[in-house]
């Protein structure tokens, strides 16, 4: 398959089931909503090293937010519901409760309950106030700046999918980066999915294991341009740089939609912009039950 001079390789992204949730962070100004959300989703690129994967899903206008203030929607994913129930209150407690003017609300109402205020209320040391509104329970926790308002729980999705991905093979580092940025911008418009790595882009894709004992993952040498002569390379001779985009979503459909949006954006740039091919990372299909076949996705 070839789109605008870009080869779509006969490969697939291999993805895994995860437990995920959506939170809505609001604050007195967009600056502080974004600050709290950025802190909440910080150091959350890969479950391997961070325990969870998280990212900003989008901005919420004041008229659409729970309390009429500017908001940010974030998604958080963990390898199990049990881990999600530990990670979410810990991150909200350290990163949102502490951020000036912020409040934190459930972004999903369905699915197994993940504690928010239910766990954080104890910080109020007996001065916290519960308020049930139209069947939904909120907590008001007194803090030095005023009050932190938080939903009691949020819903979650155990049908979440992590590890969707595609690789951009380009003639230069600049061409790869430009294409990745275009893809990230297009993918930001897809709801229900996030790109957990810095700026949405990964430069250090990995393979499983390595030569050193104890290494869970190590550099994906088959896609490293500088190792072309040293290892069995997967790169054509004219490829000088590869960037990866990793996608987590609340459902397989969300991940697929995000991948399609990103690959389409890259292919719109085409060979004229230095793009050679689109590939994907997988482990031979033996580890993850979700296979996003590139050619089927872009058919």
């Amino acid at each position: 398959m070839n789109l605008n001079g870009v080869e779509i390789r006969d490969s697939f992204a291999e993805a895994f089931p995860m437990a995920g949730t959506r939170l809505v962070i609001t604050a007195g100004t967009p600056r502080w909503a974004r600050t709290a959300a950025a802190s909440l989703t910080g150091f959350a690129t890969s479950v391997i090293g961070c325990g969870c994967e998280a990212g900003i899903e989008g901005e919420i206008a004041p008229e659409d937010s729970p309390d009429g203030r500017p908001g940010i929607s974030v998604l958080i994913f963990a390898m199990s519901l049990k881990n999600l129930k530990k990670i979410v209150p810990a991150r909200v407690g350290q990163c949102v409760l502490t951020a000036p003017t912020s409040a934190c609300y459930a972004g999903l109402e369905e699915g197994p309950r993940v504690p928010l205020g239910r766990a954080l209320r104890y910080f109020g040391d007996g001065h916290q106030i519960a308020k049930s509104i139209e069947g939904r329970r909120f907590w008001r926790i007194p803090v030095m700046e005023g009050e932190f308002v938080c939903d009691d729980v949020t819903g979650s999705s155990t049908a979440s999918v992590g590890g969707g991905n595609f690789l951009i093979l380009a003639r230069s580092r600049a061409a790869a980066l430009n294409a990745a940025e275009q893809a990230v911008d297009a993918m930001a418009r897809v709801k229900g999915a996030i790109l957990p790595f810095p700026g949405g882009v990964v430069r250090s894709g990995s393979k499983i294991g390595g030569k050193y004992p104890g290494m869970i993952a190590s550099t994906n040498d088959a896609y490293c341009p500088t190792l072309r002569a040293s290892v069995e390379s997967a790169l054509p001779g004219d490829v000088q740089s590869v960037l990866e985009i990793v996608i987590d979503g609340l459902s397989a459909a969300d991940v697929g939609a995000s991948m399609r949006a990103g690959i389409s954006a890259v292919c719109t740039l085409g060979a004229a912009a230095g793009i050679v091919a689109i590939d994907a990372g997988n482990y031979g299909g033996n580890l993850g039950p979700f296979h996003f076949k590139l050619r089927e996705l872009m058919a």
Partner: protein
């Protein structure tokens, strides 16, 4: 499910107990069966058909012409819609768990006593113990919403443990006595001795409270996100308190004499 309209044949000469006469209870009954339902009337029990003329109404609805001696209208309502035209007696909507009860007139004491869900709307005034406990009980309403468009008698929200009460008019003395949880919003004036024995819960006031007891302390003026949240989720609350809720409020806490942490928020 068919609906019914119960039209009074004449003004009541004694107290009539309508407990359990709800859309759900009448569903599936024929007109004849409904007319033969026994109702406590004074010291006797009479067939419903002796007191009311039965008329068909829209599916699931129950329309009743009211009388000040008609008690426990909508008591035990769990689903469906009941509408009363005219005044009614005591304990309307007592122990409701769902559904919608509208009263186009004044209501007596004990509206919504012990209710746990659903919605009661009274277009006129109400008597004492709005949302409080049933006589002999200790716990007031635990859930649901009551909206009163007129004035309200003493002990509104006494022993309340949850739910929302919206009052457009004035409130008499001893409101929120021994309140444990829930929210009461008042557009009119708050009577004396409000919140005595209050443990938790919130009173939202459109007017400055002038007659607070000694157990309440002024914590000053605050910007409360929770108020903006309340206004967004309950539009009729924002409307009751004058439309735009800025989140700015003066907060009084009490009843400290009872070790309570209830709050009176004056929105200005």
């Amino acid at each position: 499910m068919s609906g019914y309209e119960l039209r009074l044949r004449a003004s009541l000469a004694a107290r009539l107990d309508l407990s359990g006469v709800t859309p759900h209870a009448l569903a599936g009954l024929s007109g004849s069966e409904v007319e033969h339902l026994p109702l406590p009337y004074g010291t006797a029990r009479v067939p419903l058909g002796e007191v009311f003329t039965l008329m068909p109404a829209s599916d699931g609805a129950l329309l009743i012409s009211g009388d000040p001696r008609m008690d426990f209208v909508g008591a035990g309502l769990a689903s469906g819609e009941m509408m009363v035209s005219g005044p009614i007696g005591v304990c309307a909507g007592a122990q409701m768990s769902g559904g919608w009860l509208t009263i186009e007139g004044d209501a007596g004491e004990g509206v919504g006593s012990g209710m746990s869900g659903g919605r009661i709307e009274v277009r006129g005034q109400t008597g004492a113990r709005l949302g409080g406990p049933l006589p002999g009980a200790r716990t007031g309403m635990t859930g649901g919403t009551i909206e009163i468009f007129g004035d309200v008698g003493p002990l509104a929200g006494a022993n309340m443990r949850g739910g929302l009460v919206l009052i457009h008019g004035d409130v008499a003395e001893h409101a929120a006595r021994d309140m444990i949880a829930g929210t009461i919003a008042i557009a009119g004036t708050l009577g004396p001795q409000a919140g005595a024995g209050m443990k938790r819960g919130t009173l939202l006031l459109a007017r400055e409270p002038l007659l607070l007891g000694p157990g309440f302390g002024d914590t000053g003026e605050h910007d409360l996100v929770a108020l903006q949240l309340l206004a967004r989720r309950i539009p009729q609350l924002a409307e009751l308190l004058g439309g735009g809720i800025s989140g700015r409020a003066r907060r009084h806490v009490g009843d400290r004499l009872a070790g309570g942490q209830g709050e009176l928020l004056w929105l200005y």
